[in-house]
């Protein structure tokens, strides 16, 4: 059975709302990306050098990054030779397989994407990222999701810098119905975390979601501040934070690699939340990040509503990109 048949089967069996959401959110991504690949296949009679050149461009346009694209195309060329493929239509399977291979790198997808929520006791999740990627919004959505799963949640307003950030988290707290631990604007974020952990322990909550101020990864002092925040958390609860989630804007280009690298150095990032995937951007850089830094995507943001946060499934992601091929 071809790869896409398998995917399609999986898709039809799994016709739950999650999949629908994913499909909906990615529909624009899909139309433009897969549409282009379809054009490509229709226009070429042969899998030749020009075919690959154009494939290269399609992948670059998805922000996958030049280095990864080159690597991928080289591997595809080998594959074409090995399997003696001449019909461009056959390329669909090969391309999708390779993309998923790059992402998976031997690990099971489910395992990669699941959040490490402790069986019992407090789970602390720290959110980090540059300015304007959607950290606070993601925390609001995740709080909603966890609460719906029956967990008790507490939020820590660690962005004491940006004007209105604390209020923004508070609004989310009200919407979702969870408490927010905060201090005055301008106070030490590490102190807020300390307070929040004490409160979380005292109240016996399941999950503490910690917001932090957005910071550009090349600001050394701000990155040190973040290290301190993490240190305070680890000191209060051994093994915490259980997850450090880097929030990435899907619209971001190659700089996302630098973000992943430097935030990983400072806070040992355990996963990525890819936001704003409901736009026309593809967020292809996550393939390169996974390939180079081994950080998996755990969640994706597909809209502005409370339930627009979904667990990342690489097969669905790639399927989303290629769904037009299947339908055609």
């Amino acid at each position: 059975m071809g790869f896409f048949q398998k995917l399609k089967e999986k898709w039809t069996k799994q016709a739950d709302t999650v999949t629908e959401k994913f499909k909906e959110g990615l529909s624009k991504t899909r139309t433009s990306f897969a549409g282009k690949v379809n054009d490509l296949i229709a226009r070429y009679r042969k899998v030749d050098e020009e075919f690959f050149e154009e494939l290269e461009e399609i992948l670059i346009a998805a922000d996958v990054g030049v280095a990864t694209v080159m690597e991928l195309v080289d591997e595809l060329k080998m594959e074409v030779k090995r399997r003696n493929i001449q019909d461009p239509a056959q390329m669909r399977d090969v391309i999708a397989e390779k993309l998923i291979d790059i992402y998976r790198a031997g690990s099971a997808a489910r395992e990669l994407a699941s959040l490490r929520i402790q069986e019992d006791g407090l789970t602390v999740i720290l959110f980090v990222g540059v300015n304007g990627v959607g950290k606070t919004t993601t925390i609001g959505k995740l709080a909603h999701k966890l609460k719906a799963e029956g967990k008790s949640v507490l939020l820590a307003a660690g962005d004491t810098f940006r004007a209105g950030a604390i209020e923004q988290l508070e609004v989310w707290g009200e919407r979702v119905g969870v408490d927010v631990i905060k201090q005055a604007a301008g106070s030490d974020p590490a102190a807020v975390m300390y307070d929040a952990i004490q409160a979380a322990k005292a109240r016996g909550v399941d999950v503490l979601l910690c917001d932090t101020a957005g910071r550009l990864q090349n600001k050394v002092n701000l990155m040190k501040e973040l290290e301190k925040v993490k240190r305070v958390i680890s000191r209060e609860i051994p093994g915490a934070p259980h997850e450090v989630l880097l929030v990435l804007d899907a619209t971001t280009g190659q700089n996302a690699m630098s973000q992943a690298k430097l935030f990983k150095e400072a806070t040992d990032v355990t996963g990525i939340v890819l936001t704003k995937l409901d736009g026309t951007a593809k967020g292809g850089i996550v393939l390169a990040i996974r390939n180079e830094l081994n950080i998996p995507v755990k969640l994706v943001g597909l809209g502005e509503k409370m339930d627009d946060l979904q667990v990342f499934d690489p097969e669905q992601y790639v399927y989303g990109l290629f769904a037009d091929w299947l339908d055609s």
Binding site: D63, V130, N131, G132, G164, Q168, L216, N218, T251, S258
Partner: protein, 446 residues
């Protein structure tokens, strides 16, 4: 390595074809491959890159290599010139309405930095141009967005117009304009909610607002880190609203900012400002030529030179030189010199502007402690006139007094005196250079 500068990469290609008098087509092709990669890695849209490469190749083939340049440098020169031209050549100014107030709409995707930039722009207009702006809180969707603008307004002492989050943004804009007219404001800066360019409902809202307030400027606020999608976003906003300018934010990051080129290429709208930091005065007019250097990974030498020229007083430099030669350099002069260097801006940012600075290990991430400099200044200011002229008279009890006066410790006073002593010795050595080699006192980068 992904973020290698273009100049270094071209150098590699060039080492193979050095010594030729003319740039051949094959040479150009090979070099253009490197240019293409550099531009793509800088997030310039691939279509824009394609057109650009074609144009540059045509110009570069057959060019005679100037005596003073290597073929590689020559190609870089052409690439940079074309890039600058594409980016709009000269920098442009913000519009002024014939009859005030000038109405400015700020639009863009979520998280681009509209609210912060609106605050910065108000600050810039008020401080640099002595204008009276009114901030308008028309983002009724994102939680606490109004609160954010109000806080910024308070910090800047600029009035903020708000009708809360339950009013229609178009209505808010209209009423704000009325108030601005009544209060004789020069500028009305409307902060709109972030939205996707494909969100028809919200895009329509912006069209209605445009219709209602007839803005003189519609600024598209774009994150400098945006990737290939910048083209779609810019094109879509432009088609639906007719943007008049672009503000690039978060340029203080380590992104190459190729999105700037893409946006410029698809909309033709000039990039007018760049956000350079989190502080409210960190908004600068956009310089196309410098951006070209940055995208190519060539460092921002021009900005640095310009800053140095603006800050260093020629007269003072001459006087200083004289003092150094005659070894009458005092702590007062030292203080003066510190002040001049500080005028250039935060030191760590200056270092970043040096080409190749990111290559030198440790230098790229150097953090100059501005407080340390402030402490040194405090110490010197706590000295008497005589002490400043003749530091050798500073004994134990004087040191104690100076430390107390400057809020530092005796150790710190000691350290400063020792450093100053060494500096003087060094100056003596420097000024003992044989005649003919003397070039006067210069900052190393001048």
């Amino acid at each position: 390595m992904a973020f290698e500068g273009l100049s270094e990469r071209l150098q590699q290609v060039m080492s193979r074809i050095r010594g030729k008098g003319k740039v051949t087509e094959a040479d150009v092709k090979e070099m253009m491959r490197e240019v293409r990669l550099a531009l793509l890695e800088a997030d310039v849209n691939f279509k824009v890159v394609k057109d650009f490469i074609k144009q540059v190749s045509e110009r570069a083939v057959g060019q005679e290599v100037m005596k003073s340049l290597t073929p590689g440098q020559q190609v870089i020169k052409i690439v940079k010139e074309e890039l600058t031209a594409l980016m709009g050549g000269e920098q442009s100014q913000i519009a002024v309405a014939k009859k005030p107030p000038t109405v400015v709409m700020m639009v863009g995707l979520q998280g681009a930095g509209k609210t912060t930039t609106t605050g910065k722009l108000a600050n810039w207009l008020r401080k640099r141009h002595n204008r009276k702006p009114l901030l308008v809180a028309a983002d009724v969707y994102r939680p606490a967005a109004i609160k954010q603008l109000e806080t910024l307004g308070k910090q800047l002492s600029v009035p903020v117009f708000s009708l809360g989050e339950h009013e229609n943004p178009v209505e808010i804009a209209k009423r704000a304009l009325e108030q601005a007219k009544a209060e004789h404001c020069d500028y009305v800066l409307i902060d709109t909610a972030g939205r996707l360019h494909i969100d028809e409902g919200l895009m329509d809202e912006l069209r209605q607002m445009k219709e209602a307030v007839k803005p003189d400027e519609i600024f598209l606020v774009v994150d400098a880190m945006t990737g290939q999608d910048a083209v779609n976003v810019a094109q879509s906003f432009h088609e639906q609203l007719g943007i008049t300018g672009v503000i690039l934010t978060k340029l203080d990051g380590d992104t190459r900012g190729g999105a700037a080129l893409s946006i410029r290429a698809v909309t033709g709208a000039p990039i007018k400002f760049a956000g350079m930091g989190e502080k409210l005065d960190a908004l600068e007019p956009f310089h196309p030529e410098r951006m070209a250097s940055r995208i190519l990974g060539m460092g921002d030498v021009l900005t640095l030179i310009e800053k140095a020229q603006a800050a260093v007083d020629e007269e003072k430099a001459k006087e200083l030189e004289q003092k150094m030669r005659t070894a009458t350099f005092t702590l007062d002069d030292f203080l003066d010199q510190l002040g001049q260097v500080r005028k250039l801006g935060p030191l760590d940012e200056l270092i970043k502007m040096l080409p190749g600075a990111n290559k030198i290990k440790g230098l790229a991430n150097i953090q100059v402690d501005e407080k340390q400099i402030a402490r040194v200044e405090a110490i010197i200011r706590s000295m008497t006139k005589e002490e400043k002229m003749h530091p050798e008279i500073i004994n134990g009890s004087r040191k104690k007094r100076i430390a107390k006066g400057s809020g530092t410790t005796v150790q710190e006073v000691n350290r400063l005196l020792k450093q100053f002593d060494e500096m003087k010795k060094m100056m003596k050595m420097m000024t003992n250079v044989p005649k003919g080699k003397k070039k006067g006192f210069r900052f190393p980068f001048m």
